[in-house]
Symmetry: D2
Subunit: 448 residues, 4 copies
């Protein structure tokens, strides 16, 4: 039995290839899906089955394209938001054979209505499932979110409770293979470990210690954010999105070509500190590592995108992230910001401030000055600076219209990274007085 | 100025990417052409021009697909055998700019009628061309073959003579960048070096020491072989062949699936010695390294191909070679010949003989026994065993019909490799008594 | 928490790197140990601890060298056969901290007397160990062998029983991380899976279903082979062997240099079928993939080794395998057997036979002919050909002296691979009539 | 004949491996020299000769270590500053055989007194050398510097003139293979091409168009900078420096460990814009790409070095650069500057200014304000801002003591990169008012 986890960084998405005796199944393939075929071939496996645990809202499925390349059948659970154009619908307890492995589908609604987990058994040691692909139902140390159907919050939470117990009924021996690891937007509280067993989760996962009533109550009171791109994902994962380009690099543009291009949005993917020292006028900051988590808040479907980065490698990586979440219209890329300034390009910068300066400003209590905290709700609830206003960074995509461009904003978060992204966004919207509290909440606490 | 040679093994095909100041040209791209875009991107170059030196007869051009991926224009010389569907036709002395490089087209017919060389100049040091892409006109130590128009042998040889002198007129300073290195079927006598200058060739290349009359005479008397697949190449290089698959691996088949498949031809791509010890009944031997040079003799257009190899890597490599020369219909692959026998698969073998045995047989002079030398004409002319018959290995694709399956054939070549391929071919055609003179001409000579 | 398995092919040896919060431990590092430092560095981890589960008998430990490179402390269990020159001795229940991980040593004698398992706990989810490095005590589907102390077979088997129950007492939630996977010489019967939990093993592992008496009985009756190199391994793993060369490639020798060299043993590492068709006189067959398992039977400590292979890559791989098991004196390598024959080199071959021929010979019952089965005892017990003699392949290293070089031997195994190795060995000892039953037991059965 | 160029980025150092018929020579190997052995092995070549063109002053030779690994002999020219501990001294016209290649040593003093070029001939096409390894005598578009013996400037320039003509006498056909490409500190004016022939240089290289008198005059008037580390290089290249570590990664340190360490110098290797936004107090800026060219000015022999970077990859690259120029004492590295601030770490920043601000300051003519241009002399001679003072960036290593820490310095260069390095250096020396003219001379010119 061969089992390999393929981890997609940024999204913390986990997909799997499971093989035995010359045959293989892929679980939840990502859009750039050549990797599964390469691994299968190296192992002498033919991909015959593609299993989806649910219609993903945070990334584009690679099933249609992988299916086309391999002739494998694609399977999806029932009750999706609409017909899945490229998949066969399966039902509870449906069985499949992959070499010497038996795979059994388990309807496990809660996170979504179409959610299915896949237990698998070793025919030679078959007292209980060897493992289970738990999708977005059960994570290591956490469970899936249940807020996607606002009118049915309780029902979905209850359904997830039942589904989790159905999974646990597979027995303590089973290992769990979830669709996300720590860092995903699909559930906070995941452990940084990416391996566990049913037994370990049964004993340690906080959500599995609760009664059904407690569980539903806890889930209903969770605060989750839902970026606007989720909607696009969901649509594309019904109809199937096209494959990524064979060579994933943006068109190389010279500075003069770059200036001549018409972009709807200019993304500076360099790190936040580089952006703060100087960036092309009009560019927003979305460092390559933060693109998967925050790109979906600040980009709109069908925008023409221009990229600015340190190196072609960095631009290619950014392009990869963007394609994975469905932003495909990348017009071109430019490397070498300093070079652009030395060719007469206009630039902006955003100063960084220390705790000392922020404290002084708090003391001065200038009415025109605002300390704006862009962390998530649950972070703010744990600890905050009393004088700070709070707007979640993602919500700035619309909330900036309620802010006053005449005022002076100092952005803060936990360390200064998200603060820079937020500051760049405000600056691009015409806010001329923005700066960054470097170290932010961390530095503030360390001071004490 | 950036210049990188991309060498395609087996075919000894050399293509190039030439860049300057953010722009790049590709010369004679091969069919699996993603590599040029990857290199260009790493170097921050946009591919804007694709230059073909001539319509290749020995490999499929990647120009149409690379053109589509990059939007670069494709250029080809005039007088091709038909309209080139995907290229613009250029004329002598036409100039192009690639960053700070000037490229000048030089009509240089002789090898083919549409042949063009491309000289390039460094705008900062412009006393004479820096180099010239000589295509199949001028090689290191040799010149192109001129036998493709049987009725115009003299005219083509004369044309090549003039073309070569046109190239040499670029000046002694110029470096030469040919389309083939040693080992190609496009000209014997190439040096094993892959770098040279006009001056060095002017002094050392044997063909450049001759008068025009001598040159024409020499060329007309050369013996070249022309595999049947050349015709298919030529046709495909007029209309443009489709791209290679994104992941170049054959479908993995189990032995039972493999047996169940209908192949038109079964190719065993393991090394010749493995084949000789045992191979599936009906398989022919074309070791992966010999596929590019000999595949075109023994395979027919549109055949369904099955592959047998040692490893998936080897099969993938074989598939790559086959796609490059237009044999695209690979139904699937199987690894593990010994395993197949252990599952009851039928096998054949071909014994290897030593010089001692061959000598004994020559002495015995059994009328039923034939020592068959499959080397090329020019090798036989240099040295041979008097008692041996000669049929060039490639010609066995048809000449086997003139041989007598009731006789006993011992195959020989220079070392035993080609002899094994030939023996496998005969065996697949029903010759039951074949064996291999291991060491062949080399061992024969060493004995003395 | 970061956990990565490093699998050493051939030996089926599994080592691990376990990290948390900037620190890491390595469990059972192999001799070519740069890989652990590279992984650690990529993950931003400092290797601070090296844990050995026991003194390995089948491969050379990399602990001394890795310790030197990282300044990490090395830990080993008590009761080793002698003082471990490079390690600190630990005792039962000793605890270690690796970032947020707690590691607890568990004395688990049985396979060896110094055996220690290492349980590890996640400080954030600490109800039960997350996993346990079980060394050679508990495998997926099997348990360790207990035959290394011939006079204390029962005691050791009993000790292992107790150790296994000590490991199982860690709880059903714990994942198991053994030191070997399927294919190792350290225990037959391992599942081809390489992941499991205590609970799954408790339910499915056949050895864990037994009472202590049954268990001891079963273990005492197991037949294991013990190649002579184990002794050398054990010695080297007390004192610590030197590091592998920085670049692991054999000295490239031309054929004339190769002939001129004095080797104690010539190993042909090409596949068995190539060897059978022809090989240099005097060479033995140990295909690169079989070197780790069988090299230790046919090579002697301190022999000067010459290598013959298809490619430099293959030779490098062979050299890697040899260093890992302590055969360091590799004088040089040669590629291109056919080329050597074409230069006048002498060669031998070994014919392959089909089932039909073997059956005919059995019928003929020539007294001079022997069908020699070289499979392991447990394979023979399952199924055999009545007319065959049996000598385990490894035992031929000495048992050949009891065979009659005047007789005609047909070698067989399960498929023909080991038969070829055995045939090559006999031929190198002067047996002039050897051949290979291709397909062997597999083909025999398929026939029926 | 096999010839491969190995380019060491940053230093623009070019070394070569030249092979034929199973044997190979390496020319001017760098310190991390495993790469040559790996290439040789892949090509089936045994490295038998190591040739040094001269005692390098800008990087550490790998000859001693490569010699030890391969048993190859090392050759060096006569008249070095002292005995070369690890090499044989050769004399003019000495010949060597590498397979079918003849190598001829040519004493070519001028750059250094021990300089030797190596011409090589193809035995099969031997009318004139195929190429010549020109070391630091002849580059593409330029010639070597001759300022290393201050009292013998004229003599050395004259010697180089004669040496160049000796090289040119090899004939127009010869290709040239220099030891440096554009970007090296060993000669300005190199073409960005890295390939040329004697003929092309004879026609186009500006220095080869001069009479001897003109040549000497021109060379004597060149201004070159000589970083202090050259002296250390020269010393180490007489005695031979130790090998680089097997795995070239700095010890991973946490922030608290990092703070606790005693470093003599803290190098921030992130890009200049990141540094400007914020950096640990006391750190100097040497971005990884600028380390090879500028590290030697600001670092002292035997300093304990701490590294700060964006990623482990970046730190490893920095470490590689440092080892290549002999700064071996790297105590450890830290990644994640923002994280350090969020843990309470103190930081500094340096503002970036636009042309508009600089112009305003020039108009204001504040006596306390200085615009400091740190470009090289030849850049300043071409174009400058009249109001700017000039100190070459490298000279700031000592010249800072002559500047006034009470004054306000705005640093400028061509674009702002070197200005940032200079500003960081001044700030680390206690200058509290420094800023960076972003775009610098380029932006100034673009404005007009």
């Amino acid at each position: 039995m061969f089992l390999k986890k393929i981890k997609t960084p940024g999204l913390s998405h986990l997909s799997y290839i499971l093989g035995s005796n010359g045959k293989a199944a892929v679980i939840d393939p990502r859009r750039d899906c050549e990797i599964y075929l390469e691994i299968a071939s190296q192992q002498g496996l033919e991909i015959t089955h593609i299993f989806e645990t649910h219609r993903n809202e945070d990334l584009i499925t690679g099933s249609p394209h992988l299916g086309q390349m391999t002739k494998a059948k694609i399977y999806h659970g029932p009750n999706a938001a609409g017909p899945i154009a490229f998949a066969d619908i399966i039902s509870d307890q449906q069985e499949f054979k992959i070499g010497n492995i038996k795979v059994v589908a388990l309807e496990t609604p809660g996170h979504t209505k179409d959610h299915v987990a896949y237990a698998f058994y070793d025919e030679n040691h078959d007292d209980g499932a060897v493992g289970v692909f738990t999708g977005d139902a059960l994570f290591v140390g956490d469970v899936g979110r249940t807020d996607f159907y606002p009118d049915e919050m309780k029902e979905m939470a209850g359904a997830l409770y039942d589904s989790l117990h159905k999974v646990m009924d597979l027995g303590d021996q089973a290992l769990i293979y979830p669709a996300h690891g720590a860092g995903s937007v699909c559930g906070s509280g995941m452990a940084e470990r990416e391996f566990s067993s049913i037994c370990h989760e049964r004993k340690n996962n906080p959500r599995l210690q609760l009664s059904k009533a407690e569980f539903v109550d806890a889930k209903v009171n969770e605060v989750h954010y839902q970026p606007p791109y989720f909607e696009n994902m969901e649509r594309l994962n019904l109809v199937g999105a096209g494959p990524v380009p064979r060579v994933l690099v943006p068109k190389v543009l010279s500075f003069s070509e770059f200036k001549g291009q018409r972009f709807d949005v200019l993304i500076d993917v360099r790190d936040t500190m580089s952006f703060a020292s100087g960036h092309m006028k009009g560019a927003i900051s979305l460092p390559v590592g933060m693109l998967p988590a925050f790109g979906g808040w600040f980009l709109n479907k069908d925008q023409k995108i221009g990229l600015i980065g340190d190196s072609m490698d960095q631009l290619s990586q950014a392009m990869e992230h963007l394609w994975r979440i469905g932003f495909d219209d990348i017009v071109g890329g430019y490397t070498g910001f300093v070079k652009s300034v030395a060719q007469g390009g206009a630039f902006d910068r955003i100063p960084t401030l220390s705790t000392r300066t922020v404290k002084k400003r708090i003391e001065e209590a200038d009415e025109n000055w605002v300390l704006l905290d862009v962390r998530a709700q649950d972070e703010v609830e744990k600890i905050k600076i009393d004088e700070a206003q709070h707007v979640y960074i993602g919500h700035l995509n619309e909330a900036w219209e309620d802010l006053d461009p005449q005022k002076h904003y100092t952005l803060m978060c936990a360390s200064g990274q998200r603060a820079t992204v937020a500051a760049g966004w405000l600056q691009s919207k015409g806010f001329s007085q923005v700066d960054i509290y470097l170290g932010s909440m961390g530095a503030w606490q360390a001071e004490r």
